[in-house]
Amino acid sequence: MATTAAEARFRVDAPIRGQRATRVVALDESATAVMRRVAEQTWGGARFYSYEARPHSVETDAELADIVLRTMDGAEARLSEELADADAMVMIATADDGAEAASAIGNACTLRGIMTAGLILGDGREAGAAVMALRPHARVLMRSTGEHDVADVLTALRA
């Protein structure tokens, strides 16, 4: 039976099962500022973190690089633990400061089969560098013009 307008009404009307567990990581200060505002909206299973590049925030001595993130209320969190039940990773960047972290996150997600996306804020040279830094590590790269755009993507992904 073709899906006519009348027939379309009989689509099973139940919510899609399984909440998505999205992790959002801002890779530099300007990205964190945008993410903070987005994080204030109501989200499903999404959790938000920022990353600051400083010595030892990327541990490469372990078998697989792990990194130290900060939750929105300032607590320390380890990437490896936060990825345990995640199924999507969205990285936000305005420049290439977080290149090392992007690589660690990308590898960790590949290993665990977690979907990745990168949102680049702004244009110009800095943002161009961010594209280069994230390209190998995000299945999708998208230029975003700001908060509104970031929220749109997270909503579309049911974060």
């Binding site: 899906t3 379309a8 689509r11 899609i16 990745t116 999708v140 993507v153 579309a156 992904l157 049911r158």
Partner: protein, 428 residues
Amino acid sequence: MLAQETNELLTQTGPGTPMGELFRQYWIPALLAEELPENGSPPVRVKLLSERLIAFRDGEGRYGLIDEFCAHRGVSLWFGHNEETGLRCAYHGWKYDVTGQCIEVPSEPEDSIFCKKVKLTAYPLVKIGDILWTYMGDPAKRPEPPEFEFVHVPSEQTYTSKRWQESNWLQALEGGIDSSHVSWLHSAGLKNDPLFKGSKGNDYNMADLKPFFEVEEVDGGLFIGVRRNAEEGHYYWRITPWVMPSFTMVPPRGDHPMHGHLWIPIDDENCWVFTFDYQPVRALTADELQAMKDGHGVHNQNEPGTYRPVQNKDNDYMMDREAQRRGETFSGVKGIAIQDSSLQESMGPIVNRSKERLVSADSGIIKARAKLRAAAEALRDEGVTPPGVDPAHHRVRSVSIVLPKEASFIDSCREAAAVSPGVRQTSV
């Protein structure tokens, strides 16, 4: 996922709706020039953006697109007589010119001025390339005519077909933006279709089924780049332009003609798909043209005398389970165009986007919806002219190219993705 009210905003294009007003900022294809082949041709009923209109070419060759229904008592002018200077209603003989002006009311005295006060809504209808274009918005804001390359190359270099799709325009457009379905739904076409097969790009396409995506904003809309692994240190990029609101081009393959679509709302549950193929610098060969007319490539075959596909929802698109089992087609449906329309119509006339479960590979679609919504709201709230109205935005091409890994596709392809008359397309 989209909230239900956003879904409604993007899918409703009737008069007075935000998306309807957005569409009314642009020149859009109304019908093919072949539908009014000569002066005095029979008039054609055309529904666009939920308005019922009648297109005609009067005895002196002027094109008109006017309200379908006679001002007198609402009879369809489709039954009318197409005369030297206008269309005469079959009921009581009122006559209208191409501007919708009533020029004769036979029941009134010879010198009556009554008819001067009767005018039907009319929109301009102009022939550019093989298409008759109209503009349904405020005459004071009428933009310069369209400059898409396929309607400006010499006629022997271009071919356009049209089909009726029984779904909302947006789910049809989304298929044009989403290139991640090509390696699945159209996989067989890459091998067999005369207008696709045998390009180097196809090998890259099929060798890497998990491509990466990059979405870049440009003045008129988006460029969506999809990259796959190529030789050491290189990526194979396929770049799809979207010019707002509804022009998309498929990245080219080898020396095959370049193709694309315009997805035009008929009403909220139906759309016209205008499908073109062209060569920027050479004539189409007889074989290419024949293949298009036979419904290969992105074209299809319509029921004779109509624009409804021969494969349609009433015959389950002539689904062939055996061919599906043998791997000749992935979905069992033959032909790239109907592979798309069958699936898009199967979603129902207006798909419920609050029930979707999108993935990162859908980013082009996510971004396109966001841009449409932003443009519709900016127009409604602040009267901002949307992207894609300026004909300079139309001068884009799709691209397929191998680039070094570190190259930015958008910076590397500025020239390749722009129209340069006399310059061949950039295609692998």
